[in-house]
């Protein structure tokens, strides 16, 4: 149906998740060490195109992004489309919202589908911690730019004379927050300590993540969600044989300068990861006309941000604020959900969020609720594993979660799923999917 045929007053349509694809996530410096963001995004797209027969198809729009991005990749997603088997007439745009990038591309394209602006969309994200951009120092950058503008030999010599040996050292990207100088792990350590989350509880969550992800692979859950790449067929970070005992032996890496005991280890924090994921979205008409499955509906989403700079709130706690607003708008409570996908940036992030929603005082004072938001049944939490086991290529995590949750809902045949993703800059995005 042509888009123009839909009157402006028409009720919004449904946006459905048709399927997804990702490449196995690799630890930084591993088998994808020399693969670029574009390589991995194309590899994920290739698998999606093959799975759903999209060769030569003009998709309504493709939206994706990367958190660690080279300046030459300003048109990353469009370039990936041009390098793929999709029709070159498929438009694309890049999006960047730190670790919420992938989820936000799903939300944006789903909204366009609901409004009748597009019939189909591919949302996704990619990140490489291995092939990260390295920038020249600010001193060298200024000199090079001024040099390009210098006209006379004298001006050129004067400009070059400003160079100092230290200017030649490159700037590597960091996970530090620009306004606080603290790394993400150090920020989370503050929150983990504030909510008194124990080392045992964090290790237990990590253990469950590995166990659940391994079990999901074993039962073939990822067969139609993952395409092998560069010899990798499973997420390289997955330790199917890990144990609570092994996790307990790891030394803390964050929060060592705090007065409370440090509890965050490499085992209960996500490692630097390389990977890419994409999700195929469409209107119901599109899916039917192309004889494609409809796994779940994208119902609604909400973004939030917190003031973490002066320590009013933890850096990664924004989803805690977004969630009650989303539930209220949709007249839902925790009891209405069968699956909870809370991105495991750190085990402490998930556990602090759960603790906050259970805390009456916090819910009254900070969230403006009448009482605690409630408890989440842990048997419904990250049932197919999450970032602690799979790894976390920042922008690719949203697509991984949406595709996996949509498939879990489709397998169950009923119910709803909740997604929560925290992001740098004190931001977060939460979303609801429902089975069809």
């Amino acid at each position: 149906m042509p888009e123009s045929a839909i009157p402006a007053s028409a009720p919004v349509r449904k946006a459905v998740v048709i399927g997804g694809n990702r490449i196995p996530f690799a630890r930084s410096g591993g088998p994808y060490a020399y693969s670029s963001n574009q390589d991995m995004l194309i590899a994920a797209l290739d698998g999606l195109v093959a799975r759903f027969g999209l060769q030569g198809e003009r998709i309504g729009e493709v939206a994706a992004g990367a958190v660690l991005k080279h300046s030459r990749d300003f048109n990353l997603t469009r370039e990936a489309v041009l390098g793929s088997a999709l029709s070159p007439t498929t438009p694309a745009y890049d999006l960047q919202q730190a670790c919420a990038t992938g989820l936000e591309t799903v939300v944006g394209l789903a909204n366009k589908i609901k409004l009748g602006q597009i019939e189909s969309g591919i949302a996704g994200g990619v990140d490489s911690a291995s092939d990260a951009p390295v920038a020249v120092s600010e001193g060298l950058r200024r000199v090079l730019l001024d040099l390009s503008r210098a006209k006379t030999t004298q001006q050129k010599i004067r400009t070059l004379a400003r160079l100092r040996p230290k200017d030649l050292a490159p700037n590597a990207p960091t996970t530090g927050e620009p306004r606080t100088g603290l790394s993400m792990g150090e920020h989370q350590a503050l929150t983990t300590a504030a909510w008194e989350i124990s080392r045992e509880a964090q290790d237990e969550l990590a253990y469950q993540s590995h166990t659940n992800l391994a079990a999901a692979y074993e039962r073939g859950f990822f067969t139609d969600l993952v395409t092998p790449y560069r010899g990798l067929t499973r997420d390289a970070n997955l330790r199917a044989d890990t144990s609570r005992e092994k996790l307990a032996t790891l030394k803390p890496v964050f929060g060592k300068a705090l007065p409370t005991p440090a509890t965050m280890t490499a085992g209960n924090s996500t490692p630097l990861t390389d990977g890419a994921s994409v999700v195929l979205l469409g209107s119901e008409d599109y899916a039917r006309e192309h004889n494609l499955p409809m796994l779940a509906n994208v119902v609604d989403a909400e973004a939030a941000a917190v003031d973490f700079v002066n320590g009013d709130e933890g850096l990664l706690m924004a989803p805690v604020y977004a969630l009650p607003r989303l539930l209220q708008r949709n007249s839902l409570t925790f009891a209405d959900f069968d699956f909870f996908e809370i991105h495991e940036a750190f085990a402490g992030t998930v556990l602090s969020s759960l603790a906050a929603w259970e805390n009456e005082e916090f819910c009254r004072n900070q969230l403006g609720l009448d009482g605690p938001l409630g408890s989440i049944n842990r048997a419904k939490l990250n049932v197919n594993g999450s970032s602690l086991a799979a790894g976390h290529p920042f922008a690719a995590t949203g697509g991984r979660i949406v595709a996996s949750l949509a498939k879990a809902l489709s397998e169950k045949g009923s119910g709803r799923g909740l997604i929560s993703v925290c992001a740098a800059g004190g931001q977060g995005v939460v979303a609801i999917l429902e089975a069809r």
Partner: protein, 330 residues
């Protein structure tokens, strides 16, 4: 035809070194080699592709690092086997200084990085060219007994004359003639710096001295170093066919060499589908006519295809560097 099984594929620099020695020996003894190609096939089995080497090749050509092999990379993997035929002591033409006139390739199906490749190479069709003698080198690549890629490379030995041809023959002259060339509207430009040949040598293993530096190229009669023909072919195919397809045919004819550094203007033109089915490269002499029929019966022949014609020329002199076409079917 005899077959020689290569225990291991020799590195190309060693082949080139041998070629220098062989050329020197032939010069000392006078030309005593019979002008006919040896009746032999060279075979190498179970060649594995190194993922790191593949990535380096793909990135140099500006292609995404997929798990499937670019068509020109298959040529690269098989090249040492083809070269080992040309480097044989009983091969009639001198390997060094040989000019690459063109390639015709049939990429029967997409080939995965994980597959192990069997390669057979042989020479045939020794014939006169207006500037010397040309020969075809045919390379068949197969996976578990079924052919996945066939390439025919045409080489010219300048100044070498077949007995009885007298040097007047125009047979086999290929490529567009500079005099009649009218440049089309360019659709792109390739800016190739002085290191292009060395970088391609590093990822392809083809360390032919004519590509490496002005000094080494001059020793072989070139004004400056020149771009590898297969580098130009790889870029042509990559640009015309950015994503893997089921079946791919392409060919390229080289006219004037691309001197490095240099700028190549290119024009890609999509032609109406299926206007011209290229020859199966192995069938050029008609000896393997049955194989094409087999390919059809096995369902490997294309049903619908898209063809892109490509031409590259010098922006400075307006002389053509190459013409080619890429035909793909899903």
């Amino acid at each position: 035809m005899n077959e020689v099984l290569l225990g291991q594929v020799r590195a190309l620099p060693a082949l080139y070194r041998d070629a220098v020695l062989l050329a020197a020996r032939r010069r000392l003894r006078g030309s005593a080699v019979r002008l006919e190609v040896p009746d032999v096939r060279h075979r190498a089995e179970r060649i594995r592709v190194d993922p790191g080497a593949l990535t380096a090749f793909q990135h140099l050509l500006g292609e995404p690092a997929r798990d499937t092999l670019p068509s020109a990379y298959v040529h690269t993997v098989a090249f040492p086997v083809a070269m080992s035929v040309l480097a044989r002591h009983d091969f009639p033409l001198p390997l060094l200084g040989m000019v690459h006139l063109g390639n015709t390739v049939e990429h029967v199906r997409s080939i995965a990085l994980s597959e192990s490749l069997d390669v057979v190479a042989y020479a045939e069709n020794l014939r006169a060219h207006r500037a010397g003698t040309q020969v075809d080198v045919v390379t068949d690549v197969s996976v578990e007994g079924s052919r996945v890629w066939t390439g025919r490379s045409v080489y010219l030995a300048r100044g070498v004359r077949l007995p009885g041809t007298g040097g007047a023959s125009q047979q086999g002259s290929s490529g567009p003639h500079a005099s009649s060339f009218v440049p089309p509207v360019p659709t792109g430009v390739w800016k190739l710096d002085g290191g292009t040949g060395r970088r391609y040598a590093a990822v392809s293993g083809d360390w032919n001295p004519i590509h490496l530096s002005s000094v080494s190229a001059r020793a072989l009669g070139m004004k400056r170093s020149i771009a590898h023909g297969m580098y130009l072919a790889a870029r042509m195919v990559g640009q015309a066919c950015p994503a893997p397809v089921e079946h791919l045919r392409w060919s390229i004819d080289f006219a004037t060499p691309v001197l490095l550094p240099g700028t190549v203007a290119v024009a890609l033109t999509d032609a109406p589908a299926g206007t011209q089915q290229g020859e199966v490269p192995g069938d050029q002499d008609g000896a393997d006519a049955g194989r094409r029929a087999d390919a059809r019966q096995n369902g490997t022949a294309p049903t619908t295809s898209t063809r892109t014609d490509v031409v590259g020329w010098s922006r400075e002199s307006n002389r053509p560097h190459f013409t080619g076409h890429v035909e793909r079917s899903a």
